[in-house]
Structures are given as C-alpha cells and as structure tokens.
Amino acid sequence: MRPEELAERVRARVPEVTVARGEATVVVDRARVLAVLAEVRRDDDLAFDFLSSVTATDWPGRAPRFWVSYELSSTRHRHRLRVKVGIDEDDARLPSVTSLFPTADWHERETFDLYGIVFDGHPNLSRILLPDDWEGHPLRKTEELGGVDTRYKGAFVPPVDRRTT
C-alpha cells in the first residue's frame, strides 16, 4: 500500500508517524519496540516480515542522542516501513529483536561495535568489524576520524580532519 495509507494503518497503534519522500517512518519508545515490530509483522495488511537493516545515527546535540532505525519490508505486499527509537547516551540500551528477526544478529553486533549501543538479549554481543581489543566506538560523532599520528624528526602530522596544511 502507499506510504500514506500505511501511515494511517499504523497511526492507530503508534502516535508518531511521518511520511516523507515516499517513505513512512514510525517513532516508538524503547519499551514498545518489540511489541510494535511484532504487531506490524502479525497484521495481515501490513505483514512486515523482513528486516533489511538495523542501524544507528548519532545526534550529539540532541536528546535523545542515538536514534536506532529498523528498515522493515514486506515480502507479501512489497511496501516498506522505518521504525525509529531514540535512546539517551547514559542509558544506551535496547532490547534485541533477534527473537523476532534472526537476521538482526549481525546488524546489532555492528551497531554495538560502532556506536556502543547494548542490545539486551542478544545471543552474542561482541565486536564484529573492529578488533576485539579496540577501545572506543568510532562512528560516534565525538570520536575522531583518525589516521596516522606520525612523529618524524620531532614533527607531528595530525589526523586528516585536523590538518590545516
């Protein structure tokens, strides 16, 4: 169904639904994530049974800081929905959706690895892309881009984003 009809259907369950650029986005709070995902999967007209991606965006100036988004699609009806959850940086935890969508396994590990968001109930929440002993979560906006810190004959070349020459 078209995004506007989708929005109407979902609005009954979830207060905040927006439609922009041909996509419907739903904002839920952390406590209702699993419930909402299960509901939109169970409903026959919505039937969102395929999870494409789980990722996070870091908005350091805003509260909540981290916004985790789930991209859902339906194999039956071929429409898409985005579910977003905002979490604060002091309490960056979310329930894991691997019980509903086993594909979220590696997606959540990647989000944990790069952002430091802990998914409760995940079978194996460990670093996936970075070495196991890496410190920090590089995709946070507060982390630097990084690069070589070379010291040669007393000179110092900072990482690329801080170079002025």
Partner: protein, 423 residues
C-alpha cells in the same frame, strides 16, 4: 594423546574408549578459497563440520565514517569501493538516495546509461564468481575463461569511464560523461560473443559429474530460513522466493524493461549456480534494450547549476580530464564560472535535511543505502546495507552436517565480497 600418557599405546587400544574430540581449525583470513579475507572458525569431527563461526572485519575500512567528512559528491568515490566487484551498484544506490533527498531525478538518458552499466557490471561480477568458484572446486580453467570475458567488459568500462574498476561514474544528478562515439559498437560486439561463451561455460560445467557431485545437495538453505536470516539475491531466488528489488520496487526505469527473474527450487549450491548463469543471460537482454534506447542523444546530467557537476569531463590520453574548451571558459572567459566551479568542487552541493533508504538489486542481493542529511554540505550518516554481510550469517546453517570440502563450495555459492561485508 591424553595428558597422562606420553606415548600412544597401540597394543592395548580399547575401541570403546576411543575419545571423541573435535578439532578447531581456522580457515582464513589468508586463504586461497575464502573469497577475500573471511575467517571461518570450524569445529571439525574428522571431516565433518560440527560448527562454524564466520569472523569478519578483516577489511573494515571505515567508509561510512569517512563519508561524513567529505562532500556529497566525494561520497561516490568512497562507496564505490565498498563492494568492489559491483562498483556501479554502490554508486547507484548512493546517488539514487541522494537524489531522493534532493527531490530530483536524473535525465532519461542518464537512467538508461545507469541501467546499461549496472547490468554489464552484474555480468562481470557473476563472471568473477564463476571463475573463482570454478577454480576453487577444481575447474581451474574456468578462472581463465571467466577473466577473459571480464576483460571485454572492462574494456567497455575503461573506454566509457576511464577506469576498469571503482569508476565514480554515476554522480548525483546523472552520470559524469556520455558514452564515447564507438561505445555502442563495442557493446554490440560484446553482446555478439557473450551468449556463445555462456553456452560454453554451461557445456563445461552444468552436466559435469564432478561439478554436480560437489554442488548438488550441498549447502541447502530453505526459503523460510533464508528469509529469517535476511538473505536476498541469488541465494534467496535459488530457494524459490522470487524477490528482486528491480521488480518489487523498480528504480531507474526498470519497470519498462523486459527481463525475467530466474528462480530455482532446490536451494543448494547447484541451484544458485543455475540462477546466476541464467541471470547473466537476462542481463544481456537488458543491455540490448538499453542500447536501443540510446539511439537518441540527450543530456546525461541535471541542468540545475546548483547541483550539476560543473566540469565537462572527457577521457583524454592520460585519463579523464576537463575538456580544453571548458578550461578555457573558466580560466579566460568567465570569472563567475570559475567561482562557481571552485565552490562546487570544494564545498559541494547542499542536500535538504531528511533520511531515505534506497535499495538496489546488486549481484549479491539487496544493497541498501540509508542516507541521513542535516541540510549541510556533508552527509550526516551513510549506512550501507550490504547483502554479503547479511548472507554470510546463513553460512553456519548451511554447513550443518557438511564436510570440510563443502565449506568451500558453500562459501563460493554465497559469493561474498568482503569489501561490502566489512566496509
């Protein structure tokens, strides 16, 4: 040998007391058959795989983080190197997502060129898959044949874009250059020889008893498990689910092309082989339809001066460069043009705030781009949903009860490209 005895006592071996221990073997990351730097932790009981744990991350490049520090147009050069066997698809996903954020559409000729190059890239990617899979399973000559055909395709790419790989040809707003004058003729020559070559590969492999023995019944993945794992692409279609982003959510005018989406039902490695070979044939049909549509000339980049790439590039003797007429224009004739060029190249375009998820059908499955903009000159978040990253999750399930040799066949049939997996 146990810790207590230092010598194996062969005289008094009690068969009931034979200890069953499994051996943990590491396959990769440096391995000739793991399609890149994939590491598999295999727990083996003799030759049988008891459990398997794929460990990725050995090619993590930080592309997503790097894109946040560059302009929108520079992002194309970064994302094109994610899935390096299908660079056009990366560029396509990124450009389509950015164009949706901007609310523009590339001109029709640019869309036809995009489809043309994407389908040729699909054939090239499947050729590399066929070449490496053949070599790993023993058909070593397939390596030479696959790369021979790929060279023909790469010649077309080089003539049109200046590069054999990682082209940065698709840009936000269209493509950067039109085909060279002899481009269509070169592509028609390729279309003339390719069907015969695909028939040759089928003659070599499809009925070959060794190929059948190593691929049939190996790495079975049923449709429900595949969907649960989030698997897309030829792996899913070989399990019987006809899901293709080009048909389900068409982009770039795919709804106007005639092509089929091959599926198989067995869900094993052999079915995936059949699906990919058939996909190559379907792509040839699409390329031919594209060539017919390229008969009329037209613009290949949007007209809006705030968005279009300011230069007029052409492939010269030493690579791609600005045309001399354009250089003369900005250096000698018009100060405003120079300033505009400078601003567009250094600062880039600004994209309205918002977020968008754009899926495209890459040779490996659904390649999705989640782009977030804060209204500025740089992408705020670029997330690449790579199909290989998700498809690799299904490998342990496919290797249940398999032999070590099957691990090679299974990984090969997944066709992972570690650049996309690790980004």
């Amino acid at each position: 040998m146990s810790e207590t005895s230092s010598r194996l006592d062969l005289e008094h071996v009690d068969p009931d007391e034979v200890r069953e221990e499994t051996m943990i073997i590491n396959m990769g990351p440096q391995h000739p058959s793991t399609h890149g730097v994939l590491r598999l932790l295999l727990e083996l009981d003799g030759e049988n795989v008891v459990s398997c744990q794929p460990i990725v991350g050995y090619l993590h490049t930080g592309i997503e983080k790097n894109c946040e520090y560059r302009t929108w147009q520079q992002g194309v050069a970064y994302v094109t190197r994610a899935d390096y066997l299908a660079p056009f698809f990366n560029e396509l996903g990124y450009c389509l997502a950015a164009e949706r954020l901007l609310g523009i559409e590339a001109p029709p000729r640019a869309q036809v060129l995009r489809v043309l190059f994407c389908e040729m890239n699909r054939i090239a990617s499947h050729l590399v898959w066929l070449a490496t899979t053949g070599m790993e399973l023993g058909a070593i000559s397939m390596m030479l044949y696959g790369f021979r055909e790929r060279e023909v395709i790469l010649d077309v790419f080089e003539a049109a874009t200046g590069l054999r790989m990682n082209h940065s040809y698709f840009r936000i707003g269209g493509v950067i250059m039109d085909l060279p004058p002899d481009g269509p003729a070169q592509i028609r020559e390729f279309l003339r020889v390719m069907p015969g070559r695909i028939r040759e590969y089928e003659r070599i492999l499809s009925e070959n008893p060794i190929w059948l023995e190593r691929n049939r019944g190996v790495g079975h993945l049923s449709a429900d498990r595949a969907l649960a794992f989030g698997v897309t692409g030829p792996m899913l279609r070989a399990a019987g689910v006809a899901r293709d982003v080009r048909k389900d959510e068409p982009y770039c005018g795919y709804e106007t092309y005639e092509f089929g989406v091959p599926t198989a039902s067995e869900g094993d490695c052999y079915a995936r082989y059949l699906v990919r070979v058939e996909e190559m044939k379907q792509s040839l049909g699409i390329v031919e339809q594209c060539l017919d549509r390229l008969a009329e000339p037209g613009p290949v980049m949007v007209e809006d001066p705030k968005l279009r790439w300011p230069a007029q590039l052409e492939v010269g003797p030493d690579g791609i460069g600005n045309s001399p007429a354009y250089v003369r224009h900005i250096m000698e004739e018009s100060m405003e043009a120079l300033i505009h060029h400078f601003k567009m190249v250094t600062e880039g375009i600004s994209v309205p705030a918002g977020e968008v998820y754009q899926p495209v059908e890459s040779p490996r499955g659904e390649l999705g781009y989640y782009l977030v903009s804060d209204g500025g000159h740089r992408p705020y978040r670029v997330k690449i949903r790579d199909p290989s990253f998700v498809n690799l999750q299904a490998v342990p399930a496919m290797l249940e009860g398999a032999l070590v040799a099957d691990a090679i066949a299974v990984i090969a049939s997944v066709d992972p490209v570690m650049g996309g997996v690790d980004r």
